[in-house]
């Protein structure tokens, strides 16, 4: 028992917003890089067994159970399990298909795609069966677990923490790094717009209708990074690891309202004028924020052409001017989140451009 407590303390100490994100990114990289290895059935089964053991052991901890067993958090556990399973399925097929393609053989799907089967019974039966299974699962869930109902609404009593519904907690987590106008309005709009743009900017005609990684490594890596790391794992972070005052709490840590996290963040303008030039901040807002504007303009106006001549050269040639620029800008917007996170953690950077007078903070 002593030993178990020690491990829990160690894990709580190890985990913070920074390490959580770092581990996520490293895990993500490993998932892509070693896909040939971990998708093999014995390895995948061992990994699965290991996570079940860790999960069950964690369930012996009261604090862990409190968070996991909150009725509205159960879907997240279901989601994490199904994503794990389906990623395994997809990556396994990718690995197999990539091998087949290399040898010049038809993919798993291609072997069967010419053949047509009758919709009744081949499709209808599956649909019907799934419908029954889903019904049973849902009924069981509904019988086992009551839908939550808390105290009657009271505008005078703000719960701490106040959380959005779980599926928006990734966005709420972004609020730590960006102001609401970006995290709550501009980024969601760009996520939707960016998703809609995907079919029109992905000029790679390969990999249509079958699983493959090697034929479209960039598209799959970027999409999965967005979905797994920036969406799902941030939801997990926001739900399980953010407590009162949006402070970070380890999996086994008690949600203490008085936990203090010192926030002493500095704007780029203060760095530039005070620290580097040893001057007071200029009165004129534009002059004050000049370095910030320079950085932002460089990022969105100068980086795309630079990338087009270097790492994205192939895309620029494939896509043409307009498509390329849409793609590059969406890509840069997506990268802006991890970049700002890193800047915050490394330099306590608050705003790159900070004009609170106009609510214009980046």
């Amino acid at each position: 028992m002593e030993f178990a407590e020690k491990i829990k303390h160690f894990l709580d100490w190890l985990l913070g917003p920074v390490t959580f994100f770092l581990f996520s990114v490293i895990g993500f990289g490993a998932m892509i890089a070693f896909r040939g290895w971990w998708t093999r059935t014995p390895v995948a089964l061992s990994l699965f067994g290991l996570s079940v053991v860790v999960f069950l052991l964690s369930m012996t901890d009261a604090q862990f159970r409190v968070i996991i067993e909150k009725p509205d958090n159960i879907p997240i556990v279901i989601m994490l399990c199904s994503i794990g399973f389906l990623l395994w399925l997809a990556f396994r097929k990718m690995a197999i298909n990539d091998g087949l393609i290399e040898q010049g053989l038809p993919t798993i799907e291609a072997r069967e795609s010419k053949k047509r089967v009758m919709c009744w019974p081949d499709l209808i039966y599956s649909e019907f069966l799934i419908a029954i299974l889903v019904t049973i699962a849902l009924l069981w869930w509904a019988i086992e677990i009551k839908a939550p109902l808390e105290e009657p609404a009271n505008p005078a009593v703000t719960p701490n923490p106040s959380k959005a519904p779980w599926y928006f907690l990734g966005l709420q987590e972004m609020l730590v790094y960006y102001d609401p106008w970006l995290a709550g309005v501009v980024f969601p709009t760009l996520i939707i717009g960016g998703l809609q743009a995907i079919p029109y900017i992905d000029m790679n005609t390969k990999g249509n209708g079958y699983f493959t990684f090697k034929e479209r490594p960039f598209a799959i890596t970027v999409y999965l990074f967005g979905f797994i790391v920036l969406w799902v794992l941030l939801i997990m972070l926001g739900t399980f690891l953010r407590g009162p005052n949006w402070s970070f709490f380890g999996f086994f840590e008690y949600w203490d309202i008085h936990k203090l996290t010192s926030l002493n963040n500095v704007n780029l303008s203060e760095y530039f004028w005070n620290t580097w030039l040893g001057m007071p901040l200029p009165e004129n807002i534009f002059l004050r924020e000049l370095p910030g504007f320079a950085v932002v303009i460089f990022y969105f106006a100068a980086l795309p052409p630079i990338l087009a001549n270097t790492v994205f050269k192939r895309f620029f040639i494939e896509c043409g001017f307009i498509r390329y620029n849409v793609m590059a800008n969406l890509f840069l917007f997506m990268a802006a989140l991890p970049i700002k996170m890193a800047l915050r953690w490394l330099f306590n950077l608050k705003y790159i451009v900070g004009i609170p007078e106009w609510f214009f903070n980046i």
Partner: protein, 257 residues
């Protein structure tokens, strides 16, 4: 068996089903063709496309959950009054005394599940490259369905009118304050003035329009109720029809050519 045979010979049965038992190609085709619910399916489908390991059946499950939500939702509407004075107590009754109060559980867990299955469906569509031509448009219909699914879930979250509900919605809709130009705490809103009078204030910005007030209150409850029960499901329903039709018109479930 004899009874069944006799039953299928009756005029009533024959008036409903215009085909024989579907154990041969002709009657199997007719079973799909002559049924309004099944006829969105093609008669024949790609063998690779009916594999569960290919589609994960996630689009199908999402649609099924949408139907579950519709049915349980309508039953809930018989009991629930979207008025601040009653809403919470109606929920409490559903939980404790109302017969078939389990509809609320089915509705809530079904909604959570639907959010998950939409994401998984989208993941599958992406990983199989099924958004590529000729399916670009259907991917776009899908993205709108995704947004509508999230909005359905979000508007429904408010209806129990408990602490969880109003504060989650308060946190969510607080974002709208910061909408550029249109939110009273958004960049650029201060530029919109008539002479000296600001146009965008806490009493006139997008958040006010969304909530029907400056805070989540009675008007918000009614607004979200109507959005949740009528407006969004209607649009989502129409778009689903478009979505399924296009799956078929774009050549069925994708597969290597």
């Amino acid at each position: 068996m004899a009874l069944f045979k006799n039953l299928t010979e009756t005029q009533i049965w024959k008036s409903i089903f215009r085909h024989k038992y579907p154990d041969n190609t002709r009657d199997q085709a007719l079973a799909v063709l002559s049924n309004v619910f099944l006829h969105l399916h093609p008669i024949k489908v790609r063998k690779s496309g009916v594999r569960m390991s290919f589609t994960w059946c996630m689009g199908g499950v999402t649609f099924f959950l949408f139907l579950v939500e519709t049915i349980t939702g309508i039953l809930l509407m018989f009991y629930f009054r979207p008025v601040v004075e009653y809403a919470f107590n109606d929920m409490k009754d559903l939980r404790e005394v109302t017969p078939m109060g389990i509809m609320r559980e089915l509705h809530r867990w079904g909604a959570h599940l639907m959010v998950i299955t939409v994401w998984l469906h989208m993941l599958r569509v992406f990983l199989t490259g099924s958004y590529k031509p000729p399916r670009e448009f259907n991917w776009n219909v899908g993205v709108i369905l995704l947004v509508l699914t999230l909005l359905l879930s979000f508007t429904g979250y408010l209806l129990p009118w408990d602490q969880l509900a109003i504060w989650a919605v308060t946190v969510g809709t607080n974002m709208a304050r910061a909408t550029p130009l249109l939110g009273h705490e958004g960049p650029g809103a201060a530029l919109l003035t008539l002479g000296d009078i600001p146009i965008i204030t806490a009493g006139s910005d997008v958040r006010f329009g969304l909530l029907g007030g400056t805070v989540v209150g009675p008007a918000t409850l009614m607004r979200f109720y109507v959005l949740h029960c009528v407006f969004i499901p209607m649009i989502a329903g129409v778009l689903m029809a478009v979505h399924f039709w296009r799956v078929r018109k774009d050549g069925g479930i994708s597969g290597p050519l």
